[in-house]
Amino acid sequence: MDPIISFRGVKKAFGPKVVYEDATLDIYPGETLTIIGGSGTGKSVLLKMLIGLLRADAGSIVAFGQDVTKLREEQFLPVRKRVAMLFQSGALFDSLTVAQNIKYPLREHKWGTEAQMDQRVEEVLEMVGMPNAQSLKPAQLSGGMRKRLGLARAIAMAPEVILYDEPTTGLDPINIRRINGMILSLQERLNITSIVVTHDMDTVFTVSNRVAMLYERRIAFAGTTEEIRQSPHSYIQEFIAGGKGALEPDKPEL
């Protein structure tokens, strides 16, 4: 099977801080791939480069057979319709209600009549377990609900790929389980391909088909959850076990 998205030799630096040196990674249709790695190593940069929110300095990123690193801002529209992103903070529009947040992409792309959009809002709110929340403002929602609303907005346009930027960070165990369940059910019911950036190992082992580990500015490992559990590399084992090595001196920063 051909990959739906592939990163080849991607380089990215912010000023003097190099985030990626030679990152190469394939994502196959229908799978859920999680990217793990220490905080502040730029895991979400990979997601943002895919939909053009950030630009790679070198290398290629092919999505649906097209190298997106060559695209101009306005040419990203087809990619952004097919690839939705759930932002870490939810990135909800504070000034709009829940329903207006979900309708934002629908309106922008003239998805249908007002009644059809209302219908769609109801559907996606149902999917994320927030029925009847239409008229609330984001400020009235709990952290878990904000994440779910962000997800509802992301799936409104029925994307083929969803990018999750730390979907469970800062949530309570019940909400973590609920978000994990949603990632799984979106894959099962709608055959959506997902890339999940996280450092929550529960999420990794619950939702992933494959795992990629970012280490020292490249994708140091990519394989199934079983392979990663049996990996002989000490830094992978340390990471899985909860970053025990973090307090030891002379360790390169994860």
């Binding site: 943002k48 939909i51 053009g52 929110l53 801002e73 306005e74 990203f76 529209l77 952004r80 319709k81 939705a84 992103m85 932002f87 870490q88 903070s89 990135a91 909800l92 529009f93 504070d94 934002y104 992409p105 922008e108 792309h109 907005r153 346009m157």
Partner: protein
């Protein structure tokens, strides 16, 4: 020198943003609702600060000219000077400075908050254009509102001048009014309003530019807000000098 090296790319990026805004104007559909909201929010709600600034400026100018011209027996011409000064310079400039401080910092804070909470990125990720959605309506609103406010300031400023001149110099309001009509030409009005159109653009574009490029969380928003006030004021003062030179070269 190093400051200048940092400034030049910024000016370049503001120019690029300006082109993007211009493109958003000419490419339909124009988003009317946010535009009208911004004209009301940023422009019309600044009328009180405009009136206050204008009336006291007109009054203080009249006081100064009335006293200053007295030794030459020319204090009855106070009206001419007040009208010219207000319409050509102080009306547009003070309105822009005051309203710019209020509105520009508001844009920077609002868009800055959106930028640091990834809302600007989210607009792009959802396939929309933040320049069209956020920047264009604000810049256009300023381009429309600032000249309107300037006209208000011109009117109120002259009125303030009239109050003081009639009291201090003893001319009749009618005489004062006639003097204004004799002194002011359409060119003077155009001179002032053309400047205020540019000022409106400058206020909108600087506030929005600083706002959408905000990084660094809550602290960054605070810094962006402060930076926008200074940047707006500096832009206004320098561009006012250059524009005045230009207009004087044209009209003489």
């Amino acid at each position: 020198m190093s400051q200048l090296r940092l400034l030049l790319p910024e000016i370049g990026r503001v120019a690029i943003l300006s082109v993007q805004v211009a493109r958003a104007f000419v490419r339909p559909p124009i988003e009317w609702r946010p535009l009208i909201y911004q004209i009301d929010h940023a422009g019309m709600r600044s009328w009180s600060i405009t009136v206050l600034t204008a009336i006291f400026t007109g009054m203080v100018m009249a006081l100064q000219f009335a006293t200053g011209l007295e030794p030459y027996g020319a204090s009855m011409y106070t009206g001419k000077l007040v009208a010219l000064g207000i319409v050509r310079e102080l009306g547009p400039v003070l309105t822009a400075l005051l309203v710019g401080g209020r509105v520009g910092s508001g844009f920077a804070a609002e868009l800055g908050s959106m930028a640091v909470t990834e809302q600007v990125d989210a607009i792009r990720a959802l396939g929309a254009d933040p320049v069209k959605k956020l920047v264009a309506p604000r810049v256009l609103a300023c381009i429309i509102a600032i000249p309107l406010l300037t006209m208000l300031a011109d009117l109120i400023g002259c009125f303030g001048g009239m109050i003081i001149t009639t009291r201090e110099v003893g001319v009749t309001p009618r005489f004062f009014y006639q003097q204004i009509l004799d002194t002011l030409w359409v060119e003077d009005l155009i001179h002032g309003l053309a400047k205020s159109v540019f000022f409106g653009y400058a206020i909108g574009i600087v506030g929005c530019y600083v706002g959408i490029n905000t990084t660094g969380g809550t602290e960054g928003v605070g810094q962006a807000t402060t930076r926008s006030v200074v940047a707006t004021a500096v832009t206004l003062l320098i561009s006012n000098f250059l524009l005045t030179q230009l207009f004087l070269a044209i009209y003489g």
